[in-house]
Structures are given as structure tokens and as C-alpha cells.
């Protein structure tokens, strides 16, 4: 009995998030996506604020770069089918994301690789190179937004 309870509990803990994600209503998916991107924007602001100061604090750069990198890996799950503008929920995600998934994913991959290079640059510690990489990373954001995000 005890064994059964434990197994059940373990199973629930392991499966619940998967189920919860699968059952995410479009409105929730959009809300979660907006929140995730807000956090990403906040991380990039922190990184850029450091780079604009005369002496960037490495611990801050590292922290922000890590957050950005984990977002770049998580973003593949942020656009489940049916979470586009057709839902009627307010979103700036264009329908083209799902109709031109190949291009969208290539731009997502570009962001992931730029975020990886950013984390490496931070570890390396050359501020002027980090600045260059931050600009390059920013361009990878913009490249996707220009195509797939509604103008605000």
C-alpha cells in the first residue's frame, strides 16, 4: 500500500507538469509567453545597463546571460499550435509563425546560438567583445520580431 502510494505520488509529480502543459488553454499559453518574453526583456535590459556603465559587474552579466540563454532554449515550447491571433486573445504573434514554421524556427535557432555565444563572451570577460556580442544578440531578436511580431 505504501509502495503504491509512493509510486502514485511520484507519477503525479512527474506527469502533472506535462499534462498541465498539454492542457494549457490558448489564452494561458499566450499569457505565459508574454510573461516569458517580459522576463527576457528584463534580462536583456539588465545586461545592457551593465554594458553601458563604465565598469560592468561580471556577476550581473553572467546572471543575465544565463537567463537569456535558458530563455533561448525554452522558447521552442512557447508557440504551441493554436496560440496565434486566431484565438482572439490579444497577442502580437503573427499567424505567419505557424504558416512559415521553417523560417521561424531557423530564426529561433539563430537566437539560441547568439545567446550561447553571449554566455561564452561573458565568461571570456573582454568587455568590448561582450558589447559587440550584445549588439549581435539584439539583432537576432530584431530579425525575428521584424518578420513575426506585430508592430506595436
Amino acid at each position: 500500500m505504501r509502495y503504491f502510494a509512493r509510486t502514485t505520488a511520484l507519477l503525479v509529480v512527474a506527469v502533472a507538469p506535462v499534462l498541465a502543459y498539454a492542457q494549457l488553454a490558448p489564452a494561458d499559453a499566450i499569457k505565459a509567453r508574454i510573461n516569458a518574453y517580459r522576463e527576457l526583456g528584463a534580462s536583456f535590459k539588465n545586461l545592457n545597463d551593465q554594458l553601458k556603465s563604465g565598469q560592468p559587474a561580471k556577476v550581473m552579466l553572467r546572471h543575465s546571460a544565463r537567463q537569456i540563454q535558458s530563455a533561448s532554449k525554452a522558447q521552442y515550447g512557447w508557440f504551441p499550435a493554436g496560440s496565434g491571433p486566431a484565438t482572439g486573445v490579444k497577442t502580437k504573434a503573427k499567424a505567419a509563425i505557424w504558416s512559415d514554421m521553417a523560417l521561424f524556427q531557423s530564426l529561433q535557432k539563430k537566437f539560441e546560438s547568439e545567446a550561447g555565444l553571449m554566455a561564452k563572451a561573458v565568461e571570456q570577460g573582454d568587455t568590448s567583445f561582450i558589447r559587440k556580442q550584445a549588439a549581435s544578440l539584439g539583432r537576432s531578436c530584431k530579425a525575428c520580431h521584424d518578420k513575426f511580431r506585430e508592430e506595436s
Binding site: 527576457l40 526583456g41 536583456f44 535590459k45 545586461l47 545597463d49 556603465s53 539584439g138 530584431k142
Partner: protein, 226 residues
């Protein structure tokens, strides 16, 4: 209308606006257009520069409103509600410069611009890439809120500018008073005894403007991060 003009009184040209006030006005028009255009085109480096120029100009105008020529001084054209009401009911303007209603339109435009400048310095874009020089002092959400208010205030500002332009054309077509020409040439048509208007010396305007530009430059380059 012209009902009070006596037939034997010839209108004279009366100098009402000094050069600094006129230069302020038209430079501000150009800079607001430039700020709008550079924001639309996402040329944020230029947009920030336009903002700094507007800040220096605005600071100049606020000081000029206290030490400048008589018609530029706030004390000469800001009237209380009674004065405005009396004017709106059709009493003739007391002063040759801004009338009591126009005075408040000046105050409204200058106040909106002040708010707009503060919001702009704190604003951050949605990607956390472009930002105002003091956005490093606030967190991302505050910076985003500032950016949204920056946009809202701009639209309100546009409304007030439209009102201002409409009023100027109302005076041109219905009151036969050319306020645009006066803001260009500095003088207007005047019937009756011309009042004596005190004008501030030009070098003072130069000194004040230089000081304002210097102050803005020091604040931005010492404490700002853009």
C-alpha cells in the same frame, strides 16, 4: 471684430515678440517633428539627441519666461480663471502678446513637454535594447510603463498642437489677426496707442541658452547612460 477701430486711426506695426522667443518656437516645431520621425523610423540615437535638444530649449524657455522680454514672461500672460473667462466672453485682450487663453495653451504645451522628457529618459523598449539615459535607474517594468506613457502623452501633445494650430487659423480667418506672421516677423498690426514693451537684451538670451545647453549636456554625460 474691427468694430472698435475708429476710422481715423491708422493701424501701426508693433513689435511684440523678441528674436529668442520666435527662434524658440520654430526650433521647437522642427525638433518635435524630428523626434516624432526618428521614433517612427527607430533611429533611437537621433531620437535621444532630439530629446536632449528639446530639453535644453525647454529649460531656456522656462528661464526666459522669468527673465526675458515682457511678452515672453509668464507673469505677463498667465491669468487666473476670471481673466480667462472675461477674455472668452469677448473682452479685448489686455496685452499685445499672448491672450489669456493662448497663455494657458502655452502652459499646457510646455507642461506636456516636460512630462514627455522625463518619461523619455526612463523609457525602455520592449526588447530591453534601446533605452533613455536614466532608464538604468528603474526596473524593466517601470521602464516599459514609462515608454507606454511616453507614447500616450505624445498623442495628447498632438491633440494640443492641433488645437493650437486650429486656434491660430481661427484668429486668421475669423478675427483677421495674423498670429503666424507675428511669430515669424515679431510684429503685429496694432490700432490705437502702442504700449511700451520692454525687451530683454539679446546677449542675455545667448548666455541663458548656452547655460541651458551646457547643463543638459553635463547631466546627460555625467549621470546618463545611453
Amino acid at each position: 471684430m474691427t468694430g472698435y477701430d475708429l476710422p481715423d486711426v491708422k493701424p501701426v506695426r508693433l513689435r511684440i515678440w523678441d528674436a529668442p522667443t520666435r527662434l524658440f518656437h520654430w526650433t521647437l516645431v522642427l525638433l518635435i517633428a524630428a523626434a516624432w520621425w526618428t521614433a517612427e523610423e527607430r533611429m533611437l540615437d537621433w531620437h535621444r539627441l532630439a530629446g536632449y535638444c528639446i530639453a535644453a530649449l525647454l529649460l531656456f524657455r522656462l528661464i526666459w519666461g522669468m527673465v526675458g522680454s515682457e511678452t515672453a514672461r509668464f507673469s505677463s500672460f498667465v491669468h487666473g480663471p476670471m481673466g480667462v473667462a472675461a477674455y472668452a466672453r469677448g473682452r479685448r485682450a489686455l496685452s499685445p502678446g499672448h491672450n489669456p487663453l493662448g497663455g494657458w495653451s502655452v502652459i499646457a504645451l510646455l507642461s506636456l513637454l516636460c512630462i514627455q522628457l522625463v518619461l523619455g529618459t526612463l523609457a525602455v523598449d520592449v526588447d530591453g535594447i534601446e533605452s533613455g539615459p536614466f532608464s538604468y535607474l528603474v526596473d524593466f517594468d517601470t521602464g516599459r510603463a514609462a515608454a507606454e506613457w511616453h507614447e500616450l502623452i505624445f498623442n495628447i501633445l498632438l491633440g494640443f498642437i492641433a488645437l493650437h494650430v486650429a486656434a491660430v487659423f481661427f484668429y486668421l480667418f475669423f478675427r483677421r489677426e495674423n498670429l503666424i506672421g507675428a511669430m515669424i516677423s515679431g510684429s503685429r498690426k496694432w490700432t490705437g496707442d502702442p504700449p511700451a514693451i520692454r525687451f530683454a537684451p539679446l546677449p542675455l538670451a545667448f548666455a541663458v541658452m548656452l547655460g541651458c545647453a551646457l547643463l543638459v549636456w553635463i547631466i546627460i554625460s555625467w549621470w546618463g547612460r545611453a
